[in-house]
Amino acid sequence: MSEAVNPRYAEGITEEIALDHVTADEYEIILKELGRAPNLVELGIFSVMWSEHCSYKSSRLHLSKFPTKGEKVIYGPGENAGVIDIGDGQAAIFKMESHNHPSYIEPYQGAATGVGGILRDVFTMGARPVALMNALRFGDPKHPKTRQLVAGVTAGIGGYGNCVGVPTVGGETNFDKGYNGNILVNAMAVGLADTDKIFTAAAREPDFPVLYVGAKTGRDGIHGATMASAEFGEGSEENRPTVQVGDPFTEKKLIEACLELMSEDAISSIQDMGAAGLTSSSVEMASSGGLGIELDLDHVPQREENMTAYEMMLSESQERMLIIIKPGREHVAERIFRKWDLDVATIGKTAPHGRLVLRHKGEVVCDLPLDPIGENAPKYDRPWFPAEARGSIDPADLHQPEHLGEVLASLMGSPDMASKRWIWRQYDRHVMADTAASSEDPADAAIVRVHGTNKALAITTDCTPRYCFADPFEGGKQAVAEAWRNLTAVGADPIAITDCLNFGNPERPEIMGQFVGCVEGMAEACKALDFPVVSGNVSLYNETDGVAIPPTPAVGAVGLIPDMSQRMGYGGLKDGQVLLLVGETRGELGASLYLREIEGQEKGASPRVDLAVEKRNGDFVRSAIRAGKVSAVHDLSDGGLACAAADMAMAAGVGVKLAYTGALPVFAWMFGEDQGRYLIAADATDAEALRADAKAADVPMDVVGLAGGRFISINGGHAVDLIRLKQAHEGFMPALMDGEPEARVAE
């Protein structure tokens, strides 16, 4: 106890107020650091800066296990977004971020402002945003809230992204009862910049003016970061006022104005106001530059009257940026921001003293040393224990399904596998005119041309929470490996990833064990695949009344296709071609989609990922694509070989006759989720040469099917019509959202 500090509470502060902001232990640290009691403004600042959301206090220790450097990494974690070199003096800048808590409370605005926030992280660094992705997890389709949450989140993502004019090119959507009380809304943005025009946040010089630009500050989102760092319980809906309100029109103007100002020699450093608004942006800029900052809050553009210093510092009003400008260049910023009808005001200056000093109405209302707020925020080594290992599943112990074609149809129509057309049809996927493949196209990753060139970015998001729950370490590995595989399948060189680590309450050792397991698994895969982590975000406390979400470390990955003409998809299957399976099949059904959907069981060990094999098989597939020897490639994931074959068949409108004579039960061969595998289509005349190449590369590859007809069959039987498959595949979402019993299927 810091008994030496007297009084223990500043005027107007009670123990109750103090503990509403920080824990008792943390309050002691504050007393010790300051040698006096903090006032309310200061307490508010500690509270948001030391929130899990801003400080990463439970996760930081483990995040350092990620490989973050590489030949192509220009900026890794620590900046607003990761920056990678894509050649020719150009860089791709990207990050993924969660907006889970607000999206559950107010789905439209929660999701919309998630998109707005992640866009700002990217254009803050000088990039023009060129693509948006999202990874969404909802509860059981039958849960009474699910439909409303899907509708609101979809409309919010579309409402924001469509208006700012950045295409939403892909993503993934899962349903699982584990998300009934906490949905996940993870948004990713990708931008492009020239490598010599990248902007960072760290303050460089003292006595440089600090400019506030963008929208005015209101009372919305106060304590949003704190809300996002707590579990939900009874009455969480009352948190609605902590959810911010987005204005994509202002964001669009802000993008254009910032990029215009960035093309002039005026900005010293720049930072968006995200979680914890003016507080975190000013603290981060000053402390990462080893400087101090002084702000006069009277000059902050305000939307409402009589705002207090506390409210201004904690507001999470959207579409605002903080700029440290080169002295004498303020007028350039003023001209540009006025042109775009945006607020611009000089609200302070950088200072040499390493403190955050705030004035309001002529009085100093906050004077804090920066180190304890930012760099030296509490870090916890939380206790954890590993998840219990599950036994593997022997297919011989499962029922033998009677009609394999019918099983395939039910898998293709199951919530996780079904077409998400209902969702992505509401996203503008084509604006900016560089989208070469998006959700509507048969490709394992979105493909966005680098404007004005013949190269393209490949982008994907991946995670299989079933696996992460069964085995956090293997599941973490698999999330990274699947992202790498998806980029490979479209012909890209995978470069780097961003992540969004969504977990429950880290104060529970089993949840912390899931976190540590997933992080270590991801780190191992990133190292083996030379696929560093360049940015990311952690979202903890995704838990309601003590029930946590399944561990969900979503991976967002970016790769480069050097020549657009060599991009690949899975829609190019042609009548008479052969289907070749790359990789080894042991019929792994543990934690599989088959087991969950058909047997109604969620058990068994998740499939193992052999990273050396993953790399070898992927490198082989990529070289086959570039040699022009294949016409379609699909990675194997949920639902295994048969579901991948069904995707290819439906996309091309050509049936597939599968054949298997091996020792496994046929259903295990068809639906097993063994990793490191691809299905490729090639002309029969090229198959021999491909097999020779595979053999030379030590890659297992077998002919598993022949394209033709209108059915998918196995060993001459169990046929299922492509129309029937398509109805099943397209039927789930409209039935859920519009109550339409039959899918709309094109003739």
Partner: protein, 221 residues
């Protein structure tokens, strides 16, 4: 060829429009800010691009239609300069009174983005003569307010005058009589919800929009 693209706050297809015009004419268009009061002299073609001018607040296109530049746009329309409004541009042209009808919220109430099959109603316009050999083309749509509406008398009149240029083969938004694009009576102003500028490149959206630009810009081979 001298072309121009008008840029409003919230326009977001201005770059797409400029790229399409440059691809067809070989020259960059003039990008004209909405606060200008005059368009450049001697324009051969003007584009009012898509987007969310003024955030679609109040009513799509309503605020932009009162911008300073629109006075001169009206003069140019009257003088017969060919112009095309796409998506939000179509909404702006109807709000400015340059085209009949209005665009209401989609019947589904959802934003819709898809490649829409369009029927070319007439190849007998300056915008569509390049489609003489084609009845159906595929052009992307992406909008929330694309539900074309006009009273029956107006619809009969514009149908009778051959002003309905494109119709949806598979109506995505509830538009009256499946109308996707209309011209003014003089035939020099075309408004359409689908985005032909997103269909001028085989690597993105196909090439079915090319003939429209080639027709109006006199570049048909």
């Amino acid at each position: 060829m001298k072309t121009a693209v008008i840029v409003f706050p919230g326009s977001n297809c201005d770059r797409d429009a400029a790229m399409a015009l440059e691809a067809v004419t070989g020259q960059k268009p003039a990008m004209v800010w909405h606060e200008e009061t005059e368009l450049p002299e001697g324009l051969d073609f003007i584009m009012v691009p898509g987007g969310f001018s003024y955030g679609d607040y109040l009513r799509s296109g309503a605020v932009a239609a009162r911008s300073p530049i629109v006075n001169d746009l009206k003069k140019k329309a009257e003088a017969g300069v060919p112009m095309l409004g796409v998506c939000n541009g179509f909404q702006i042209l109807t709000e400015a009174g340059l085209l009949d009808g209005t665009l209401m919220r989609n019947a589904s109430l959802h934003f819709v983005c898809e490649k829409a099959p369009l029927l070319v109603e007439t190849a007998n316009t300056r915008f569509t003569k390049g489609y003489a050999d084609r009845k159906e083309i595929l052009i992307p749509v992406a909008h929330h307010d694309g539900n074309y509406f006009a009273d029956e008398a107006t619809l009969d009149r514009i149908e009778g005058e051959g002003q309905v240029v494109f119709r949806y083969a598979n109506n995505p938004n509830g538009s009256a009589r499946d109308i996707a694009g209309v011209t003014n009576a003089a035939g020099n102003v075309l408004g359409m919800m689908p985005h032909p500028e997103r269909a001028v490149d085989a690597d993105h959206g196909g090439t079915d929009g090319l003939a429209l630009f080639e027709s109006v810009l006199g570049k048909l081979s």
